[in-house]
Symmetry: C2
Subunit: 182 residues, 2 copies
DNA sequence: TACCGCATGTAACGGGTTACATGATTGC
DNA sequence: GCAATCATGTAACCCGTTACATGCGGTA
């Protein structure tokens, strides 16, 4: 059994207020880019389907000088579908980290080349850790009602802990490889 | 630009010795299930392509009472293609953890329902942590040459650190939500 | 008798990204 | 004059899983 997460991601954003496809993309980039993103290629067809299935209603807002906005609002059924999904247990998520695959075949290249790979990997997550600080500030500004903030901060904390673990692993692994070099 | 990781995963396994599609699947399950898996729907077509592109050669081993084995062996070009890829820098990997998406819309359901979600999430990674011990033992048996072992243990260590971080996050988050309940 | 392991493969489907098409306004 | 922002959408891909088809031999 396979469920479409993007569908629920969009349903979820709409639950916080009426929005257009364009708004949805921007919102994800602004406040959830640390763990989620959606492309227009997903968003627009999904909105169409949500509308067809009676989970959202569409209103067209005319604008002058700018294209029309197609604003979607959740129906009661939409809210219910979302809540159902929120209560369903999550399933295991396999990482498929490319660095692990490369390291798995480590002996094919030199120890130094492996060290370089890990160092580059480490840099990615060090940057991510500093980026998280910016997102944290952004969401503290953005939340309209009190209720979302604690949950949003949990997603930040998740990123902090995981990134720190990845950095620690990088340091450990490099140290190990450097010992092998002697 | 988009590269096919499965292709290189298979190329990598073949670099450790001639193998059939069936062997490849079993090998991944046995020694890399903590971070990688491939389905037959990927493996067989990829092997066909590797052969067509001159990266692997195919030999058919007849067996009695069992189906023929189509054994693939890397060519020199195959080895080179693999080494090239191993040296290419890895790119950022966005998690798309369903639990974070659900938590993001946490206020839609009760605090207790959110706690339940996190507890279930935590259980998954506690189990994963104990499973890692088994895999660790398996790979200590399985490695034929000395060279791979340290790298394989690094992939295990990766899992240990990340899973521990996820468990810690679960505990912290549950504690936070329980405080909100009062 | 029924299922599991061995072993190959394909077809259908669903998920997701990227590139493209359109077109007005605003700012450098 | 050029790029960016606003705003919608589609088509072509690639990636990946699942289900199915085939068929022998051993075990419970």
């Amino acid at each position: 059994m396979k469920i479409n997460k993007s569908r629920y991601a969009i349903l979820g954003l709409l639950s916080m207020g009426p929005m257009s496809g364009y708004d949805i993309k921007k919102k994800f980039e602004k406040i959830a880019s640390n763990f989620w993103n959606e492309s227009y290629g997903q968003i627009y067809p999904i909105l169409k389907r949500l509308n067809a299935e009676g989970l959202a209603v569409k209103t067209i807002e005319k604008q002058i000088g700018k294209p029309d906005r197609h604003v979607y609002e959740l129906t009661r059924q939409g809210h219910e579908k979302l809540m159902e999904w929120l209560k369903e247990p999550v399933d295991r998520h396999i990482g498929r980290h490319e660095i692990l695959l490369k390291l798995f075949f480590g002996p094919m290249i030199s120890v130094n080349d492996n060290i370089k790979q890990i160092q580059q990997f480490q840099k990615i997550y060090e940057k991510e850790l500093t980026d998280l600080k910016t997102i944290k500030e952004t969401i503290k500004m953005d939340h309209n009602d009190q209720s979302h903030l604690p949950y949003w901060l949990m997603t930040i904390r998740f990123g902090e802990l995981v990134n720190k673990a990845l950095i620690q692993w990088s340091r450990e692994s490099c140290a190990l490889l450097e010992k092998m070099n002697d």
